[in-house]
Point group: C2
Chain length 238, copies 2
DNA sequence: CAACCCATCTTGTATATACAAGCTTATTAT
DNA sequence: ATAATAAGCTTGTATATACAAGATGGGTTG
């Protein structure tokens, strides 16, 4: 009896859904019914229902009741993890090589992506993230100098650009797109590819309250890297 | 004063973080302090802190206090949406063509992915999802017949396989991987590609409480399709 | 000086109560 | 018959209170 009451109620509800006893869009017991069944206060029953609603497992509507959420409306999520953490998690030897660290004049597409004037000075870095000394991902990044003036002085073999930028400009937003592309010859050289192969390319733009901080392009060979995602009914055990 | 008190407190906290006034890992006011500042009960202040914690913006620990969550530990998320919904969302004309609908004997890789005996009978479907009559994605799916016996009798131009399977076997889990691949000649034909180009391939396996339901391969040309993701500090306005 | 205990802060769980607001159904009045 | 009303359910917001449990700092005791 060491597990909290609200957690027991959550477990009860999740079990009924997992087993198929309660189907999609079916009504689940109301707060008052749970209050009776479990001999708890309404606030405790309410907490179980609220937290499962927050988790996307139930939907509630005032005056009507609480229902099992429909699965088809749920979109699945993929994680983009820090690549250094990912390599370390599978006991690989992570290292990083800095290929380029410079300030350049922004051509139009870069300037637009960073929200700065065309031809104004921006910082550019190109790093290679290695697993066991073999290239796994190339990170090309353009940085708004107004928001990270000391960017070029950093040692990115110790602290990743993303970690450094997070500490300098508190991030408020990030957007990603993932696509499949063919690498150009320069990219093939960086990735040490003997013959062309399709690559996963992640474009990431990050914002702080003061504006767009940076614009990164992460390219990995399709044969070596994939994104993973996992969607499950949460067990919510403490 | 129509917005609830707990929402006002959440807004106050989020604003302080967004503006940079409260930095990573910095302590935020305790429940009792918020209770005084906003003249609310402790339970209301607590609700604001709890919900922001659930959203990943704060972290709490008993006895210590509540702190601004660190950004670097957050991994970014990408959504895999239903392709029919996505096409409709941008006012495209969605249609679907059924190329194959058959039962086959599972070769080893398929049997393993579905968790059935090698050479046992499984269902297979190949659909093409079109936007404005042009192929956007090929969906090749293998289905465990024990969990969806009427699969071959369905009309998938009306109801997607995922929707049908969700209604027959309540889903409990899904796993995805995304990678970049080159299509083979058969796939090129299905996708109406004149010259080879890299494709995004999503592999999705779905579980119900009774076991693995299906195994799907979703292939889209890199020039026409990309996955998007958006990560932001939630505003939590009701 | 070091070890222990305690007061006091924090968050976590739980209850009882009150009223507001959305939805359905049955009743009443036109 | 139709329309308005009221009753009775639902969830939503808010308060006051109580005790439990983790963390910290200070003071007493050995």
């Amino acid at each position: 009896m060491t597990t909290p009451k609200f957690a027991q109620i959550k477990q009860f509800i999740v079990d009924n859904i997992r087993s198929g006893a309660w189907l999609e869009n079916q009504r689940v017991p109301s707060e008052n019914e749970l209050t009776e069944q479990f001999s708890v206060s309404r606030m405790t029953a309410r907490r179980a229902l609220s937290e499962l609603t927050e988790a996307g497992i139930l939907t509630r509507s005032q005056g009507l009741g609480t229902f099992v959420a429909s699965f088809k409306s749920q979109s699945s999520l993929l994680e983009i993890k820090n690549i250094a953490d990912e390599v370390k998690a599978r006991n690989g030897n992570y290292s990083c090589t800095v290929l380029v660290l410079e300030s350049i004049n922004a051509v139009a597409p870069i300037a637009i992506a960073l929200g700065v004037e065309v031809n104004s000075v921006v910082y550019r870095s190109v790093l290679v993230h290695n697993e066991n000394e073999l290239p796994l991902q190339v990170e090309e990044r353009f940085v708004n100098p107004a928001l990270a003036s000391n960017y070029l002085q950093q040692d990115f073999t110790a602290l990743t650009p993303h970690e450094y930028l997070s500490s300098v400009a508190p991030l408020t937003e990030a957007r990603h797109t993932v696509e499949a592309v063919m690498p150009n010859s320069e990219m093939c050289q960086w990735l040490n590819l003997y013959h062309e192969e399709p690559c996963l390319q992640v474009i990431r733009r990050t914002w702080s309250s003061a504006g767009i901080v940076s614009f990164a392009r992460l390219v990995s060979p399709g044969s070596k890297y994939r994104l993973g995602g996992h969607l499950t009914f949460k067990n919510n055990k403490k």
